[in-house]
Subunit: 328 residues, 2 copies
């Protein structure tokens, strides 16, 4: 697969305009899909306490919030979940912040996250994910031909994207990697190089890696009924960008959820920063009051754009890519 | 006009769900309008330096950005303006942050701002504003009848909104206020009570107040050709919420812009915080390189929602209203 290796500095103004137009088209396609499937957009807070964190609470930006510690949110997931009993299918699109100092082709300190939550089972969730991404990619191929030409994007590659996407379990992926000589052990988190190796072995196409070990994933992912050391989760990995979606069924049993939160590495990180399980009280109370089975995901827009552009550099995916050096 | 005085604490879950559905419908209507008029959505940064500030830089939340001072953005205006030469009509929708400690019916520390910038004259800008707000209000009346009933919103009041909106100059508004005994002097900024008095005198309907004194407005608003102590600006004021839109032609002459920035109270505030005019260098350079006449505005979504709901309390306008006491 051809690799385009342009960097932000090399972006000419017509290229930048093309990127903006493509990004806008993908947002439009996503919202159009959500509208068609009865999702309601929710405005979630971007200043939060610990309930705005993803797995690694140490990558949150702190904000002095009138003398108490606030954070810049990484996810609106728990805020969406709390609305499911009243709204059913919900989504939000907005900034996600990571205090990551790396200045390279894989890191942004602010990026756009598309999140959905809905009362559904695992398979239906994966179908929504592959279908919305299919809609986003094909809409660019249909409506942004000129911009694709400007950027040297092969429209044929976009048109070739088909659903359903391949599915491989985490356990099979580990075996697959080991069989090609990669030094990786069951229980390890997958690194970027691992993801690319799996994508390559799955036809250089978007691939779901499913059923990760519970220990390496977010505390509220639901345990697999057959194999309780696994969770009903999926990461979508794509050429060029690697992991672009994290998805899972959510634990809706109160006692199990509290047990999982207590055992999580996230809570230990939070306690080291002076927080406690009480920071999750409003969410736990919400689950305690009764919530139907549900599932959801976060789609990293810039990673999908990277895949569409065929770019090795996430800094090429938006008008104002933000990392440690580009604050303006 | 009837006043609904429900507060966040009184919101029942079906009322909250109705508010979320109405807010989503208004966002959908706005995006639909922008799509129809050739606007491209732009993802702007929410972590910025001083170029993310509105008039009062002292209300920005500070963020320690890898050892340098960053801020949570209040506006994407300058970032949108920089794209006009390549994209023409652009818009963004996202959070705007204000470090305001007040816990009351008028303040949020995070709210949703809808911003547009386009190459156009002042009158065309005002037309876009009244038309997009007309579209938002009427779409709620058409498609969210059930939610309006749940919330006791008088749909007839929404249907009665007509364009064009009334227009009154700032100078005439001052005379109007003085004639009813209000103690206000030409050159004063308008307070909330002033805005409501003007709305009441203009038929209890959305009203543009235009051509403010230069001294009390954002540095890059364009001077009026006939009266150089005025700028070609407009605030839209509405029943219940007061000011909900700030709009203006932008200064595109480099020398004038630099002179206006140097004379601005914003720059003096910035210098007190350790910043300087160099924080605006990228934007000034952009204007220096040549930009066509253009104009734009920021529409405070929560204020429009307040007007639609007929609510005196901005905390009733969204699922997670954020002020000093509600961080979660």
């Amino acid at each position: 697969m051809k690799t385009v290796t342009w960097t932000k500095e090399q972006l000419k103004s017509d290229e930048r305009a093309s990127v903006v137009a493509i990004e806008a088209e993908m947002l439009r396609a996503a919202r159009h899909y959500f509208d068609n499937f009865g999702f309601t957009e929710v405005v979630v807070p971007h200043l939060t306490r610990a309930t705005g964190a993803c797995e690694n609470i140490n990558t949150m930006f702190d904000v002095d919030y009138f003398g108490t510690r606030g954070y810049l949110a990484q996810t609106g997931q728990l805020y969406l979940e709390a609305l499911i009993p009243h709204m059913e299918n919900v989504y939000c699109i907005g900034p996600s912040f990571r205090q990551e100092p790396d200045v390279d082709e894989r890191h942004l300190t602010e990026f756009t996250l598309i999140e959905i939550e809905l009362p559904c089972a695992f398979d239906e969730l994966l179908q929504h994910i592959e279908r919305v991404i299919h809609a986003m990619v094909h809409r660019v191929a249909q409506r942004r031909k000129r911009e694709c030409r400007t950027l040297g994007v092969d429209i044929g590659r976009l048109r070739a994207i088909r659903t359903p996407f391949s599915r491989v379990t985490y356990s099979d992926a580990i075996v697959m990697l080991q069989s090609t000589g990669v030094a990786v052990t069951w229980g390890d988190d997958l690194k970027s190089a691992h993801e690319q190796a799996i994508v390559a072995q799955c036809g250089d196409a978007p691939t779901f890696i499913t059923h990760f070990p519970e220990a390496i994933k977010f505390f509220n992912m639901k345990r697999n009924a057959q194999q309780p050391d696994l969770v009903n989760s999926a990461d979508l990995v794509v050429p060029f960008a690697g992991e672009c979606v994290g998805a899972a069924e959510r634990e809706h049993d109160y006692a199990t959820l509290v047990e999982k939160l207590r055992a999580s590495s996230m809570l230990r990180m939070l306690e080291k920063k002076g927080g406690s399980i009480h920071d999750f009280r409003w969410y736990l109370d919400h689950v305690k009051s009764g919530i139907e089975p549900h599932a959801g995901c976060g789609i990293g827009l810039n990673r999908i754009t990277q895949f569409v552009l065929g770019s090795d550099d996430i800094r090429t995916t938006t008008a104002y890519p933000l990392n440690r050096e580009t604050l303006m």
